[in-house]
């Protein structure tokens, strides 16, 4: 084992040792010294950071990939997996980023967490997280990547639920875990396809065979891996766990839910680029998902009033942009964006609490709003906010090279709007935090320990600025020089004309400026104000409700599953009764089943109905659209929103045109008063009338199809089916009939045997 191997092993080994020592010490003794915990954790991570820098330097000197094998993990038939680490430019950059930020966060946490009960638990899980994240980025095969992937998942679960006595924290943790698990199914399927196709999950083998891969199969693998990435990186439709993950302590939010873990999805896509090269369809989906999420995160981030929520949605949006970059084939840009974003977002997260410390109380900046000068944190905060808004802009430089690509315009449009929203969100955050009234000024500066942490943080900021100022993803830049061999830009992309780049940059610049100018305008769209633009008001309200993502999942996934489970439980009770001695009386319909608790994975949010009613009341109150039962449903409400928009158009456009016509008619006196009232009023009333009819029609459809058919019909039908089943079970399942069941199987066997023998 060479010195290089040893250093590589030390990088994940030290955090693991720290995690084990802290974990065991904390579990077995209440009085495990805090100083020891702090020092062992921060020291181990610092040492592995130094080792990572050394490895990075080695890799810059010689970018050939190197593999360090530890031992054979499992071997089944021809298929085997080693515990082995791959060091190439991509993983070296990621390792340096992860250990560096982890170190700063660990130092920061020493002060931040000093009053917490679970001090040791926090540090144990933090070290474990660093270890798992390092395994994730250093692993030499997909299976090892998955090991780290699940490891960071479980650490994230433990840290979101860190405040164990908070119900909402426990709920958020469970939601994050289960949603990630949905993505993991996709990841597992991807691994499965890879193993069955290539006979191995090692990157070396897979990427060597990738160029000859069947395109359909490549698309399948790409999409399966993408599902995993969507879960981990909180992309649509599995996006709603990330904002709720802010229930965890702020340092863990900074490290896990902003800088490192959530970027694992981007890493996965960038790492798998040889596979995606063969799967342009899958790559297009990557871009679409990224663009949609960037939009979603940006728009929802606009209306948040809680610093951590703004930060979370900003993260969602930025991650979406990284996926977008991957989707355009600009992997190096995505990784650049990833690293730069990690620095700036950590900075934002770590300065936010020190600001809040001084504002006293909760994390809702609008509630406090005191003007307050704190010097360094203030400047850092503003600087980081600017940087977060600007990073994608810088990254876009290189993206310009990939413009001329099918589907790119749509993706770019989405990305552009998201950029606008992200810029806006950053600005809003600053405004909301610092721009309040002067009345409740707090004069105190930072306390010394916070200041120490802040110096570390500002170092990050410097590094980040350095990264940001250098032209990141451009061809010929140092970044490309390092990362190039590992992650080349997609080779199948045609070279874009420079004009595209200029246009693209111009558009982005415009959008950015627009983003900084619009907050005032957007604030005017709040539903409680007289709406100049009803559709925008609806959008505002929808964003406020985070587009009902949780609600939709609860309604269309969790509730049916829950219903099915309860029904099966009843069926099982009947099976029990039918096959043996009844112990508990079978539950009647509608009565809660004893011994059965209803699971709720997502917390209840104000229903779609309530919010839409609110929106609708503002958006189209003049139209007085009412459905028979006020039932909420997508078709109905879409139409209603359309009606609102139509009304606006009617008032602003048609009305003015007509007024102009009228005026000119008056002036020329060519039209009588009668004709004006009879004809023009009718014409101008036609559009809302049409919209009204349309809304009524869709309400009727909604009532007939969705309400009666789905909401009432399906449960009734299944209840009837369950009753039939239960009756059948009762008859079938008596001990005597149980024997009959067995005999029947035997007869089936005999018949089967006869059929087979006659074949």
């Amino acid at each position: 084992m060479t010195a290089f191997d040893l250093v590589v092993l030390l990088i994940p080994g030290l955090p693991l040792a720290a995690a084990l020592a802290t974990g065991c010490g904390a579990l077995l003794s209440d009085r495990y010294p805090r100083r020891l915990i702090e020092r062992s954790t921060a020291g181990a991570i610092l040492a592995s950071f130094v080792a990572a820098l050394w490895v990075l330097a080695q890799v810059v000197g010689d970018p050939r990939p190197r593999e360090v094998t530890v031992y054979r993990w499992l071997a089944s038939g021809d298929f085997g997996v080693d515990i082995a680490f791959l060091i190439d430019p991509l993983s070296a950059v990621m390792v340096a980023m992860v250990t560096g930020i982890s170190f700063v966060v660990a130092v920061f946490s020493i002060n931040y967490m000093h009053n917490e009960r679970g001090f040791a638990r926090f540090f144990a899980v933090l070290s474990l997280f660093v270890f798992a994240m390092l395994v994730l980025v250093m692993g030499s095969s997909y299976v090892l990547l998955f090991l780290g992937w699940e490891g960071v998942g479980i650490c994230s679960y433990l840290l979101i639920g860190f405040y164990q006595d908070r119900r909402s924290a426990a709920g958020a943790a469970t939601q994050a875990f289960v949603m990630n698990r949905v993505g993991d199914v996709g990841f597992l399927v991807g691994i499965l396809l890879i193993v069955t196709t290539f006979g191995s999950a090692d990157y070396a083998v897979v990427f060597a065979g990738a160029p000859d891969l069947d395109r359909g199969l490549a698309s399948a693998i790409g999409l399966a891996l993408l599902l995993g990435a969507i879960g981990k990186s909180a992309q649509l439709p599995l996006a709603s766990w990330l904002p709720r993950a802010m229930e965890g302590p702020t340092p863990s939010s900074a490290l896990i839910h902003a800088a490192t873990m959530v970027t694992a999805g981007v890493y996965l896509v960038a790492r798998s680029h040889p596979l995606y090269e063969r799967a342009p369809d899958a790559l297009l989906v990557v871009g679409l998902v990224g663009a949609a999420t960037a939009l979603y995160g940006g728009v929802v981030g606009l209306v948040q009033t809680d610093i951590k929520s703004v930060l979370a949605f900003s993260t969602t949006s930025q991650l979406g942009l990284m996926f977008l970059a991957c989707g355009l084939g600009a992997y190096a840009v995505a990784i650049f964006h990833l690293v730069a974003h990690a620095f700036f977002k950590t900075l934002l997260f770590l300065t936010a609490p020190s600001i809040l410390h001084h504002l006293h109380g909760g994390a809702d900046p609008q509630a406090e709003g005191g003007r307050w000068r704190i010097g360094l944190p203030h400047r850092l905060f503003v600087g980081a906010a600017v940087a977060v808004a600007a990073v994608p802009f810088v990254a876009a430089w290189a993206q310009a090279g990939a413009v001329a690509r099918s589907g790119a315009p749509i993706l770019l449009a989405g990305g552009g709007i998201a950029l606008f929203a992200a810029a806006f969100a950053s600005r809003r955050m600053v405004a909301v935090t610092f721009g309040g009234h002067a009345g409740e000024a707090h004069g105190h500066g930072t306390r010394p320990p916070v200041a120490v942490s802040l110096i570390a943080v500002s170092l990050i900021a410097l590094a980040g600025v350095a990264l940001g100022l250098l032209p990141g993803g451009l061809d010929g830049s140092w970044w490309r020089a390092i990362l190039g061999p590992a992650v080349p830009a997609s080779s199948e992309l045609p070279a874009a004309h420079p004009v595209f780049g200029v246009i693209f940059l111009g558009a982005l610049a415009l959008l950015l400026v627009a983003g900084w100018l619009t907050p005032l305008l957007f604030d005017r769209f709040r539903p409680d104000r007289p709406a100049p633009l009803p559709a925008a008001g609806a959008l505002y309200a929808a964003a406020l409700e985070r587009f009902w993502l949780d609600e939709l999942i609860a309604r269309f996934v969790i509730r049916p599953v829950r219903r099915l489970a309860l029904r099966l439980d009843r069926l099982d009770a009947w099976l029990d009764r039918a096959t043996g001695i009844p112990e508990v009386a079978p539950p009647r319909r509608g009565v809660p089943v004893p011994g059965v608790e209803v699971p709720a994975l997502a917390h209840e949010q104000p229903g779609i109905l309530g919010v839409l009613t609110r929106v609708g009341a503002n958006a189209s109150s003049s139209l007085e659209l009412r459905s028979a039962r006020g039932a909420a449903g997508a078709p109905y409400w879409l139409t209603r929103l359309a009606a609102g928009a139509a009304q606006w158009i009617e008032v602003k456009v048609v009305g003015r045109v007509i007024a102009g016509i009228t005026r000119s008619a008056d002036r020329s006196a060519g039209l009588s008063l009668w004709s004006e009232r009879e004809i023009i009023d009718r014409v101008s009333g036609l559009i809302p009338l049409l919209a009204d009819r349309l809304a009524r029609l869709s309400a009727a459809v909604e009532e007939a199809v969705f309400h009666r058919g789905v909401h009432l019909g399906a449960p009734r039908a299944s209840a009837a089916a369950a009753r039939v089943l239960v009756t059948t079970e009762e008859v079938l399942g008596r001990p005597l009939v149980f024997a009959g069941l067995i005999l029947g199987s035997l007869v089936l066997a005999a018949v089967g045997a006869l059929v087979l023998s006659s074949r």
Binding site: Y71, G77, E150, D165, R167, V182, V561, A565, G580, G752
Partner: protein, 525 residues
């Protein structure tokens, strides 16, 4: 297929398998004779400890990567039936012996806390249960296996009825015995048919229940399907497979606090039977009917895990979770390829430990607050961090997190199932997701949140013996999870033989146009 045998005498010098069966019985006899309550625990500990050491010796001396049957002992045989005392282990069975011994050892360690009255008799029953289970796992004679399989009912019945915690334990025990008797009767018929078939087609023309002999004997296709269903039903009731599972939740809910941990490894005899007897002895029928069995497994996965999602009693969660996990194991085994078989077998070992482990945790809770019902729990984590950590680690192994013992087995099952048919892989994959949902949900309800259990603040964290149990189980979980190669190597040889057996069929690839006619002609000129 021909299996070579390596005798115990040449391999280790003494009849280790007989000793493994006898030792617990001797300890039980000592308990019976000494009638001293104070010495009881010591004797039982010594007996199970020695047993554990011996079983580890067995696993260490086992030669990996070969298909041979090892540590073979042959005793006298019944003249007319052709049944004989024939013991031996191969890659399929060898790992069950130390796992059984380990769990019994842990149960005995915990007996001081879990049993209030008549501890001596409780220990006797546990020891006899251990002896019968190990006997069943090392039997190479079908009739001998059957005898152990049936005798196992006696200590189980006594354990459930006398030390069960639920009010309905009598009914649960009776239902268990009834179900097992039906199953074993069907199984016996199937085995007798196999023995008779040996008289028709086998060497020597006499009845034989000997597993190694029967492997050499071709079985006609129409008979195979019939025997397949007889044996399948018998083992399916034990496993349990989906529609035949109703006894399991009751037994687990009503049974003794931790004694059921050993019982749970006994339940693995069902799936063990599939891989040990059904597939090698009836390869053609297995190939004909694997889809049907996989469908049963898939139904069990969804059905079991969905019901587990709404249970409030940890033991019932475990029972239905076990049903769901067994579904995945069955899918793996009946993929009938190497990956699937290996995944299924590894997962059986893993579930034997993690299922029993969660049952231990349920016992830890039960000795503190009574039944592990959700209404009595909640917000425990800050008060009992060790218990919380133990539950979490074992639950994660059940979920199949990579790095724990659950992952590799599950991964291989999905891989094997995919090669058999993609729908089977989908069903096995769905299982992993639902398992996460119900175990994490239970964890959240019982250990996190602001709704404090009434007893939370006074609840004691793990005591030294419980820590020992937790550390042992955790160590096993991470050992299997992070260094799986030795476990897989142990199984490799035998499983490869089974895979080839399925490929070649029971006629051994004679190449004859109609092998059956050829054989009939040869045997009965």
């Amino acid at each position: 297929m021909t299996l070579h045998e390596i005798g115990a005498a040449e391999q280790i010098g003494f009849p280790i398998l007989s000793l493994l069966i006898l030792l617990p019985l001797l300890a039980a006899a000592a308990l019976r004779l000494l009638r001293d309550e104070r010495l009881a625990l010591g004797i039982a500990l010594a007996g199970t400890g020695l047993e554990l050491a011996l079983s580890i010796l067995l696993a260490v001396r086992f030669i990996p990567d070969v298909a041979d049957v090892q540590f073979v002992e042959r005793g006298p045989s019944l003249p007319l039936l052709g049944a004989s005392y024939h013991l031996g282990v191969d890659g399929v069975s060898v790992l069950f012996v130390p796992v059984t011994a380990l769990l019994t050892f842990l149960v005995v360690i915990y007996a001081e806390y879990s049993v209030r009255a008549r501890a001596r008799e409780y220990l006797m029953a546990t020891l006899i249960l251990e002896a019968t289970l190990i006997g069943a796992f090392v039997s190479l004679d079908l009739l001998l296996f059957w005898v152990f399989f049936v005798v196992e009912l006696v200590p189980s019945y006594i354990l459930i009825t006398r030390w069960g915690t639920g009010p309905a334990r009598q009914g649960a025990a009776r239902e268990y015995v009834r179900a097992m008797l039906v199953g074993s009767a069907l199984m016996l018929v199937g085995m007798v048919l196999l023995a008779r078939n040996h008289a028709d087609f086998g060497q020597g023309g006499a009845w034989s229940f000997d597993f190694v002999e029967l492997l050499r004997t071709p079985v006609p296709a129409e008979l195979q399907s019939f025997i397949f269903f007889l044996l399948f039903l018998g083992f399916a009731i034990k496993a349990p497979v989906f529609p035949f599972h109703t006894w399991l939740p009751k037994v687990l809910e009503q049974g003794p606090i931790v004694g059921m941990s050993v019982f749970l490894i006994g339940v693995k005899l069902g799936t063990y039977g599939f891989i040990r007897f059904i597939i090698p002895l009836l390869p053609e029928a297995s190939l004909d009917w694997f889809w049907l069995v996989a469908a049963f497994g898939a139904a069990g996965i969804v059905y079991g895990s969905l019901i587990a999602l709404v249970q409030s009693n940890l033991r019932r969660v475990l029972a239905f979770g076990s049903l769901s996990h067994m579904g995945a194991v069955i899918i793996g085994i009946f993929s009938l390829n190497f990956y699937g078989l290996q995944g299924g077998l590894l997962q059986m070992i893993n579930l034997g430990v993690t299922g029993a482990g969660l049952f231990f945790v349920a016992g830890f809770i039960a000795t503190r607050v009574g039944a592990p019902e959700l209404p009595a729990l909640g917000g425990l984590a800050p008060y009992v961090p060790l218990l919380t950590a133990t539950f979490l680690v074992i639950a994660l192994a059940g979920i199949g997190l990579p790095g724990t013992s659950g992952f590799n087995g599950e991964h291989l099952i999905v891989l094997g199932a995919y090669q058999a048919h993609w729908t089977m892989a989908v069903m096995a994959g769905v299982g992993t997701f639902l398992t996460a949902a119900y175990l994490i949900r239970y964890f959240q309800r019982a250990f996190l949140g602001d709704r404090l259990a009434p007893a939370a603040k006074t609840m004691a964290d793990l005591r030294p013996r419980e820590i020992l149990i937790a550390v042992t189980l955790g160590g096993f979980i991470f050992w299997v999870g992070l260094y799986t190669t030795p476990f897989l190597q142990t199984m490799n040889g035998s499983l490869r033989a089974i895979e080839q057996r399925v490929e070649r069929g029971s006629f051994g690839g004679t190449g004859a146009a109609d092998p059956l006619e050829l054989l009939r002609y040869e045997v009965r000129p």
